[in-house]
Amino acid sequence: MLPGWTKQMWWKYLSIVLLVYVLIGGLTVPLGPGLVSINPIAFTPGAENNFTIEAVNTHFQTGKNVQVFLKSAGKYLCVENAKATSETSLRFMLPMAQLANADKVDNTFDVIVNDDADGTIALRDALVMNGLVPDSLQANECVVAVANNLHTGFAFPYREILYESIRNTFYHVPMWFSMLLVLIVSLVYSIKYLSSNNKLYDIIAAESVNVSLLCGALGIVTGMMWANYTWGSPWPNDPKLNGAAVGVLIYLAYIILRGAIQDEVKRARISAVYNIFAIVIYVLFIFIIPRITDSLHPGNGGNPAFSKYDLDSHLRLFFYPAVIGWVLLFMWLVSIRVRIRFLEEIKLDNE
Protein backbone atom coordinates (compact mmCIF):
# COMPACT_ATOMS: atom_id res chain seq x y z
CA MET A 1 0.00 0.00 0.00
CA LEU A 2 1.46 3.36 -1.07
CA PRO A 3 1.92 6.05 1.61
CA GLY A 4 -0.94 8.60 1.67
CA TRP A 5 1.30 11.59 0.90
CA THR A 6 2.11 10.28 -2.58
CA LYS A 7 -1.50 10.72 -3.70
CA GLN A 8 -2.45 13.94 -1.91
CA MET A 9 -2.73 16.89 -4.29
CA TRP A 10 -2.77 20.02 -2.11
CA TRP A 11 0.99 20.22 -1.60
CA LYS A 12 1.60 19.66 -5.31
CA TYR A 13 -0.60 22.63 -6.21
CA LEU A 14 1.12 24.59 -3.44
CA SER A 15 4.52 23.94 -5.05
CA ILE A 16 3.26 25.33 -8.40
CA VAL A 17 1.82 28.46 -6.77
CA LEU A 18 4.96 29.12 -4.73
CA LEU A 19 7.34 28.63 -7.65
CA VAL A 20 5.31 30.83 -10.02
CA TYR A 21 5.36 33.52 -7.31
CA VAL A 22 9.14 33.10 -6.92
CA LEU A 23 9.78 33.10 -10.68
CA ILE A 24 7.77 36.24 -11.39
CA GLY A 25 8.64 38.17 -8.22
CA GLY A 26 12.23 37.01 -8.05
CA LEU A 27 12.96 38.13 -11.60
CA THR A 28 11.02 41.38 -11.72
CA VAL A 29 11.76 43.07 -8.38
CA PRO A 30 14.54 45.55 -9.21
CA LEU A 31 17.87 45.82 -7.46
CA GLY A 32 18.28 48.61 -4.94
CA PRO A 33 20.52 51.62 -5.54
CA GLY A 34 24.26 51.08 -5.74
CA LEU A 35 27.47 52.76 -6.80
CA VAL A 36 29.15 51.27 -9.86
CA SER A 37 32.33 53.28 -10.40
CA ILE A 38 34.25 56.43 -9.69
CA ASN A 39 36.46 58.20 -12.16
CA PRO A 40 39.38 58.83 -11.75
CA ILE A 41 40.13 56.04 -9.26
CA ALA A 42 43.28 57.70 -7.89
CA PHE A 43 44.27 61.20 -6.86
CA THR A 44 47.35 63.06 -5.80
CA PRO A 45 47.49 65.13 -2.60
CA GLY A 46 48.24 68.78 -3.03
CA ALA A 47 45.93 69.43 -5.95
CA GLU A 48 42.22 69.89 -6.43
CA ASN A 49 40.62 66.73 -7.79
CA ASN A 50 37.31 66.42 -9.65
CA PHE A 51 35.50 63.10 -9.67
CA THR A 52 32.51 61.53 -11.41
CA ILE A 53 30.43 58.80 -9.76
CA GLU A 54 28.31 56.40 -11.80
CA ALA A 55 25.50 54.49 -10.09
CA VAL A 56 22.45 52.33 -10.84
CA ASN A 57 18.85 52.63 -9.66
CA THR A 58 19.62 55.83 -7.78
CA HIS A 59 17.67 59.09 -7.51
CA PHE A 60 20.40 61.70 -7.26
CA GLN A 61 18.29 64.40 -8.94
CA THR A 62 14.85 63.68 -7.48
CA GLY A 63 16.11 62.50 -4.09
CA LYS A 64 16.81 65.35 -1.73
CA ASN A 65 19.96 66.24 0.22
CA VAL A 66 22.61 64.42 -1.81
CA GLN A 67 25.80 64.18 0.23
CA VAL A 68 29.13 62.53 -0.54
CA PHE A 69 31.66 61.33 2.02
CA LEU A 70 34.96 59.57 1.83
CA LYS A 71 35.80 57.14 4.60
CA SER A 72 39.22 55.87 5.54
CA ALA A 73 40.45 54.33 8.78
CA GLY A 74 37.15 55.15 10.48
CA LYS A 75 37.33 58.84 9.59
CA TYR A 76 34.82 60.64 7.40
CA LEU A 77 35.89 63.34 4.97
CA CYS A 78 33.37 65.63 3.34
CA VAL A 79 33.65 66.64 -0.29
CA GLU A 80 32.66 69.89 -1.95
CA ASN A 81 30.29 70.80 -4.74
CA ALA A 82 28.57 67.42 -4.97
CA LYS A 83 26.24 67.91 -7.92
CA ALA A 84 23.93 65.43 -9.62
CA THR A 85 24.32 65.40 -13.41
CA SER A 86 21.60 62.76 -13.80
CA GLU A 87 19.63 60.36 -11.61
CA THR A 88 22.55 57.93 -11.72
CA SER A 89 25.64 60.12 -11.85
CA LEU A 90 27.11 62.96 -9.90
CA ARG A 91 30.26 65.03 -9.72
CA PHE A 92 32.18 66.28 -6.72
CA MET A 93 35.40 68.00 -5.87
CA LEU A 94 37.92 66.95 -3.26
CA PRO A 95 39.93 69.90 -1.99
CA MET A 96 43.08 68.66 -0.32
CA ALA A 97 42.33 70.78 2.70
CA GLN A 98 39.68 68.22 3.62
CA LEU A 99 42.18 65.54 4.61
CA ALA A 100 42.04 65.64 8.38
CA ASN A 101 44.88 64.33 10.50
CA ALA A 102 46.51 63.08 7.35
CA ASP A 103 48.98 60.83 9.10
CA LYS A 104 46.08 58.66 10.32
CA VAL A 105 44.46 58.33 6.93
CA ASP A 106 45.07 55.14 4.91
CA ASN A 107 45.68 55.56 1.23
CA THR A 108 42.41 53.85 0.18
CA PHE A 109 38.98 55.43 0.60
CA ASP A 110 35.44 54.12 0.62
CA VAL A 111 33.11 56.43 -1.31
CA ILE A 112 29.76 56.94 0.42
CA VAL A 113 26.73 58.71 -1.01
CA ASN A 114 23.53 59.51 0.83
CA ASP A 115 20.24 61.01 -0.29
CA ASP A 116 16.76 60.87 1.19
CA ALA A 117 15.37 58.44 -1.43
CA ASP A 118 18.25 55.99 -1.75
CA GLY A 119 19.60 56.02 1.80
CA THR A 120 23.30 55.35 2.24
CA ILE A 121 25.18 53.51 -0.51
CA ALA A 122 28.90 52.86 -0.70
CA LEU A 123 31.71 51.68 -2.93
CA ARG A 124 34.42 50.04 -0.83
CA ASP A 125 38.10 50.83 -1.42
CA ALA A 126 37.11 52.79 -4.50
CA LEU A 127 39.59 55.61 -4.33
CA VAL A 128 43.38 55.43 -3.97
CA MET A 129 45.60 58.26 -2.87
CA ASN A 130 48.92 58.31 -4.72
CA GLY A 131 52.13 58.80 -2.80
CA LEU A 132 52.77 59.66 0.81
CA VAL A 133 50.66 62.13 2.72
CA PRO A 134 52.57 65.33 3.41
CA ASP A 135 52.81 66.14 7.13
CA SER A 136 51.80 69.69 6.44
CA LEU A 137 48.39 68.73 5.09
CA GLN A 138 45.76 70.50 7.16
CA ALA A 139 42.12 69.57 7.07
CA ASN A 140 38.76 69.25 8.78
CA GLU A 141 37.09 66.01 9.62
CA CYS A 142 33.46 66.38 8.62
CA VAL A 143 30.44 65.60 10.76
CA VAL A 144 28.20 63.06 9.10
CA ALA A 145 24.53 63.96 9.47
CA VAL A 146 22.04 62.21 7.20
CA ALA A 147 18.25 62.20 7.34
CA ASN A 148 17.74 58.67 6.03
CA ASN A 149 20.09 55.69 5.99
CA LEU A 150 17.84 53.13 4.32
CA HIS A 151 16.53 52.75 0.79
CA THR A 152 12.77 53.36 0.89
CA GLY A 153 11.69 51.34 -2.18
CA PHE A 154 10.96 47.62 -2.55
CA ALA A 155 14.14 46.13 -4.01
CA PHE A 156 16.72 43.40 -3.61
CA PRO A 157 20.05 44.48 -2.15
CA TYR A 158 22.68 45.74 -4.56
CA ARG A 159 25.83 43.80 -3.74
CA GLU A 160 29.20 44.35 -5.38
CA ILE A 161 30.33 41.22 -7.26
CA LEU A 162 26.85 39.64 -7.10
CA TYR A 163 24.80 42.37 -8.83
CA GLU A 164 21.75 40.90 -10.63
CA SER A 165 22.99 37.35 -10.05
CA ILE A 166 21.76 37.66 -6.45
CA ARG A 167 18.48 36.26 -7.84
CA ASN A 168 20.20 32.89 -8.20
CA THR A 169 19.70 32.61 -4.43
CA PHE A 170 16.16 31.41 -5.24
CA TYR A 171 17.43 28.56 -7.43
CA HIS A 172 20.92 27.44 -6.41
CA VAL A 173 20.47 27.29 -2.62
CA PRO A 174 17.04 25.55 -2.63
CA MET A 175 18.47 22.81 -4.89
CA TRP A 176 20.81 21.73 -2.08
CA PHE A 177 18.08 22.11 0.56
CA SER A 178 15.89 19.90 -1.65
CA MET A 179 18.65 17.34 -2.20
CA LEU A 180 19.28 17.03 1.54
CA LEU A 181 15.59 16.72 2.38
CA VAL A 182 14.95 14.12 -0.33
CA LEU A 183 18.00 12.20 0.90
CA ILE A 184 16.62 12.29 4.45
CA VAL A 185 13.35 10.83 3.08
CA SER A 186 15.45 8.13 1.39
CA LEU A 187 17.30 7.44 4.66
CA VAL A 188 14.04 7.13 6.61
CA TYR A 189 12.64 4.62 4.10
CA SER A 190 15.92 2.67 4.04
CA ILE A 191 15.71 2.28 7.83
CA LYS A 192 12.03 1.35 7.52
CA TYR A 193 12.96 -1.28 4.94
CA LEU A 194 15.60 -2.79 7.21
CA SER A 195 13.08 -3.06 10.04
CA SER A 196 10.19 -4.40 7.96
CA ASN A 197 11.56 -5.93 4.71
CA ASN A 198 8.69 -4.20 2.86
CA LYS A 199 9.72 -3.94 -0.81
CA LEU A 200 7.79 -0.69 -1.24
CA TYR A 201 10.08 1.09 1.22
CA ASP A 202 13.09 0.02 -0.84
CA ILE A 203 11.44 1.48 -3.96
CA ILE A 204 10.78 4.81 -2.19
CA ALA A 205 14.37 4.97 -0.91
CA ALA A 206 15.83 4.24 -4.36
CA GLU A 207 13.58 6.69 -6.20
CA SER A 208 14.32 9.40 -3.63
CA VAL A 209 18.03 8.99 -4.36
CA ASN A 210 17.33 9.22 -8.12
CA VAL A 211 15.46 12.51 -7.66
CA SER A 212 18.08 13.83 -5.22
CA LEU A 213 20.70 13.33 -7.94
CA LEU A 214 18.62 15.57 -10.20
CA CYS A 215 18.61 18.21 -7.42
CA GLY A 216 22.39 17.79 -7.10
CA ALA A 217 22.95 18.15 -10.85
CA LEU A 218 20.81 21.31 -10.98
CA GLY A 219 22.57 22.63 -7.86
CA ILE A 220 25.96 22.10 -9.49
CA VAL A 221 24.88 23.70 -12.81
CA THR A 222 23.36 26.78 -11.13
CA GLY A 223 26.40 27.00 -8.85
CA MET A 224 28.85 26.80 -11.75
CA MET A 225 27.03 29.60 -13.58
CA TRP A 226 27.05 31.73 -10.43
CA ALA A 227 30.72 30.97 -9.68
CA ASN A 228 31.71 31.84 -13.25
CA TYR A 229 30.13 35.28 -12.87
CA THR A 230 31.18 36.11 -9.30
CA TRP A 231 34.46 34.24 -8.81
CA GLY A 232 35.62 34.22 -12.44
CA SER A 233 35.73 30.46 -12.84
CA PRO A 234 32.98 27.83 -13.01
CA TRP A 235 34.89 25.48 -10.70
CA PRO A 236 37.37 27.27 -8.42
CA ASN A 237 39.27 25.08 -5.98
CA ASP A 238 36.77 25.41 -3.15
CA PRO A 239 36.12 22.67 -0.55
CA LYS A 240 32.36 23.19 -0.77
CA LEU A 241 32.33 22.59 -4.53
CA ASN A 242 34.61 19.58 -4.30
CA GLY A 243 32.56 18.28 -1.36
CA ALA A 244 29.36 18.66 -3.40
CA ALA A 245 30.94 16.70 -6.26
CA VAL A 246 32.01 13.93 -3.87
CA GLY A 247 28.52 13.91 -2.31
CA VAL A 248 26.87 13.46 -5.71
CA LEU A 249 29.40 10.75 -6.67
CA ILE A 250 28.61 8.84 -3.46
CA TYR A 251 24.98 8.62 -4.52
CA LEU A 252 25.90 7.77 -8.12
CA ALA A 253 27.79 4.85 -6.58
CA TYR A 254 24.54 3.90 -4.80
CA ILE A 255 22.80 3.62 -8.18
CA ILE A 256 25.70 1.53 -9.58
CA LEU A 257 25.64 -0.69 -6.49
CA ARG A 258 21.95 -1.38 -6.95
CA GLY A 259 22.47 -2.18 -10.61
CA ALA A 260 25.25 -4.62 -9.81
CA ILE A 261 23.23 -6.90 -7.52
CA GLN A 262 20.73 -9.24 -9.18
CA ASP A 263 19.05 -10.69 -6.12
CA GLU A 264 16.20 -8.36 -5.11
CA VAL A 265 16.31 -8.93 -1.35
CA LYS A 266 20.10 -8.74 -1.18
CA ARG A 267 20.08 -5.58 -3.33
CA ALA A 268 17.51 -3.90 -1.11
CA ARG A 269 19.30 -4.78 2.14
CA ILE A 270 22.81 -3.84 0.98
CA SER A 271 21.69 -0.57 -0.61
CA ALA A 272 19.70 0.35 2.52
CA VAL A 273 22.79 -0.14 4.68
CA TYR A 274 24.92 1.78 2.14
CA ASN A 275 22.36 4.61 2.20
CA ILE A 276 22.74 5.05 5.97
CA PHE A 277 26.52 5.38 5.68
CA ALA A 278 26.28 7.54 2.54
CA ILE A 279 24.31 10.33 4.19
CA VAL A 280 26.87 10.57 6.99
CA ILE A 281 29.68 11.01 4.43
CA TYR A 282 27.49 13.42 2.41
CA VAL A 283 26.87 15.67 5.44
CA LEU A 284 30.58 15.49 6.29
CA PHE A 285 31.67 16.67 2.83
CA ILE A 286 28.95 19.27 2.22
CA PHE A 287 28.46 20.83 5.65
CA ILE A 288 31.37 20.05 7.96
CA ILE A 289 34.64 20.10 5.99
CA PRO A 290 33.87 23.44 4.19
CA ARG A 291 33.25 25.02 7.59
CA ILE A 292 36.63 24.10 9.03
CA THR A 293 38.74 25.06 6.01
CA ASP A 294 38.99 28.17 3.81
CA SER A 295 36.02 28.50 1.50
CA LEU A 296 34.56 31.05 -0.88
CA HIS A 297 31.01 30.22 0.17
CA PRO A 298 29.18 32.41 2.70
CA GLY A 299 29.05 30.93 6.20
CA ASN A 300 32.06 28.67 5.53
CA GLY A 301 35.75 28.93 6.32
CA GLY A 302 35.25 31.92 8.61
CA ASN A 303 33.20 33.91 6.06
CA PRO A 304 30.19 35.83 7.36
CA ALA A 305 27.07 33.68 7.37
CA PHE A 306 24.77 33.91 4.39
CA SER A 307 21.90 35.38 6.36
CA LYS A 308 23.89 38.16 7.98
CA TYR A 309 24.69 40.27 4.94
CA ASP A 310 23.20 38.84 1.78
CA LEU A 311 19.70 37.84 2.82
CA ASP A 312 17.70 40.96 3.64
CA SER A 313 13.99 41.10 4.41
CA HIS A 314 13.01 41.56 0.75
CA LEU A 315 15.02 38.53 -0.36
CA ARG A 316 13.46 36.47 2.41
CA LEU A 317 10.00 37.13 0.98
CA PHE A 318 11.05 35.03 -2.01
CA PHE A 319 13.79 32.80 -0.60
CA TYR A 320 11.68 30.88 1.92
CA PRO A 321 8.81 30.26 -0.56
CA ALA A 322 11.47 29.16 -3.09
CA VAL A 323 12.90 26.60 -0.64
CA ILE A 324 9.42 25.24 0.21
CA GLY A 325 8.32 25.29 -3.46
CA TRP A 326 11.39 23.45 -4.80
CA VAL A 327 11.34 20.87 -2.00
CA LEU A 328 7.67 20.15 -2.69
CA LEU A 329 8.28 19.98 -6.46
CA PHE A 330 11.06 17.41 -6.04
CA MET A 331 8.96 15.42 -3.57
CA TRP A 332 6.26 15.47 -6.24
CA LEU A 333 8.75 13.91 -8.68
CA VAL A 334 9.57 11.27 -6.03
CA SER A 335 5.86 10.46 -5.63
CA ILE A 336 5.40 10.10 -9.40
CA ARG A 337 8.48 7.85 -9.75
CA VAL A 338 7.39 5.70 -6.80
CA ARG A 339 3.86 5.26 -8.16
CA ILE A 340 5.18 4.31 -11.61
CA ARG A 341 7.58 1.76 -10.06
CA PHE A 342 4.77 0.43 -7.86
CA LEU A 343 2.53 -0.10 -10.93
CA GLU A 344 5.41 -1.83 -12.73
CA GLU A 345 5.90 -4.16 -9.78
CA ILE A 346 2.18 -5.03 -9.73
CA LYS A 347 2.32 -5.72 -13.48
CA LEU A 348 5.40 -7.97 -13.04
CA ASP A 349 3.73 -9.85 -10.17
CA ASN A 350 0.61 -10.43 -12.29
CA GLU A 351 2.70 -11.82 -15.14
Binding site: K7, L27, P30, R339, L343
Partner: protein
Protein backbone atom coordinates in the same frame (compact mmCIF):
# COMPACT_ATOMS: atom_id res chain seq x y z
CA UNK B 1 18.91 7.20 -24.06
CA UNK B 2 17.58 9.98 -26.27
CA UNK B 3 15.73 11.46 -23.31
CA UNK B 4 18.96 11.45 -21.33
CA UNK B 5 20.80 13.23 -24.16
CA UNK B 6 18.07 15.88 -24.41
CA UNK B 7 18.16 16.37 -20.62
CA UNK B 8 21.95 16.77 -20.57
CA UNK B 9 21.95 19.19 -23.54
CA UNK B 10 19.07 21.13 -21.94
CA UNK B 11 21.00 21.50 -18.71
CA UNK B 12 24.12 22.73 -20.49
CA UNK B 13 22.31 25.23 -22.76
CA UNK B 14 22.26 28.03 -20.14
CA UNK B 15 26.06 28.13 -20.36
CA UNK B 16 25.68 29.64 -23.83
CA UNK B 17 24.30 32.76 -22.18
CA UNK B 18 27.20 34.44 -20.41
CA UNK B 19 26.32 36.43 -17.31
CA UNK B 20 25.85 40.07 -18.12
CA UNK B 21 27.47 43.15 -16.69
CA UNK B 22 25.28 45.42 -14.61
CA UNK B 23 25.20 47.92 -17.47
CA UNK B 24 23.77 45.29 -19.79
CA UNK B 25 21.21 44.46 -17.11
CA UNK B 26 20.06 48.07 -17.22
CA UNK B 27 19.70 47.82 -21.00
CA UNK B 28 17.62 44.65 -20.57
CA UNK B 29 15.27 46.47 -18.23
CA UNK B 30 15.04 49.67 -20.22
CA UNK B 31 13.91 47.95 -23.43
CA UNK B 32 11.59 45.49 -21.65
CA UNK B 33 13.52 42.40 -22.86
CA UNK B 34 14.13 41.41 -19.26
CA UNK B 35 10.40 41.08 -18.69
CA UNK B 36 10.04 38.97 -21.84
CA UNK B 37 12.69 36.61 -20.42
CA UNK B 38 10.81 36.45 -17.10
CA UNK B 39 7.53 35.74 -18.91
CA UNK B 40 9.08 33.00 -21.07
CA UNK B 41 10.66 31.32 -18.02
CA UNK B 42 7.32 31.42 -16.21
CA UNK B 43 5.59 29.89 -19.25
CA UNK B 44 8.21 27.11 -19.43
CA UNK B 45 7.67 26.36 -15.74
CA UNK B 46 3.89 26.35 -16.19
CA UNK B 47 4.39 23.92 -19.10
CA UNK B 48 6.36 21.60 -16.80
CA UNK B 49 3.63 21.91 -14.14
CA UNK B 50 0.90 21.05 -16.68
CA UNK B 51 2.96 18.04 -17.83
CA UNK B 52 3.33 16.82 -14.22
CA UNK B 53 -0.41 17.25 -13.64
CA UNK B 54 -1.17 15.24 -16.78
CA UNK B 55 1.18 12.45 -15.60
CA UNK B 56 -0.59 12.58 -12.24
CA UNK B 57 -3.96 12.21 -13.99
CA UNK B 58 -2.78 9.24 -16.07
CA UNK B 59 -1.32 7.56 -12.98
CA UNK B 60 -4.63 7.94 -11.16
CA UNK B 61 -6.42 6.27 -14.09
CA UNK B 62 -3.92 3.39 -14.10
CA UNK B 63 -4.17 2.96 -10.32
CA UNK B 64 -7.94 2.62 -10.57
Amino acid sequence: MNKLRVAVVGMLLPFLANAQESGADSIFRSNQKYYVVAAVLTLIFLGIAVFLLSVEKRLKQLEQ
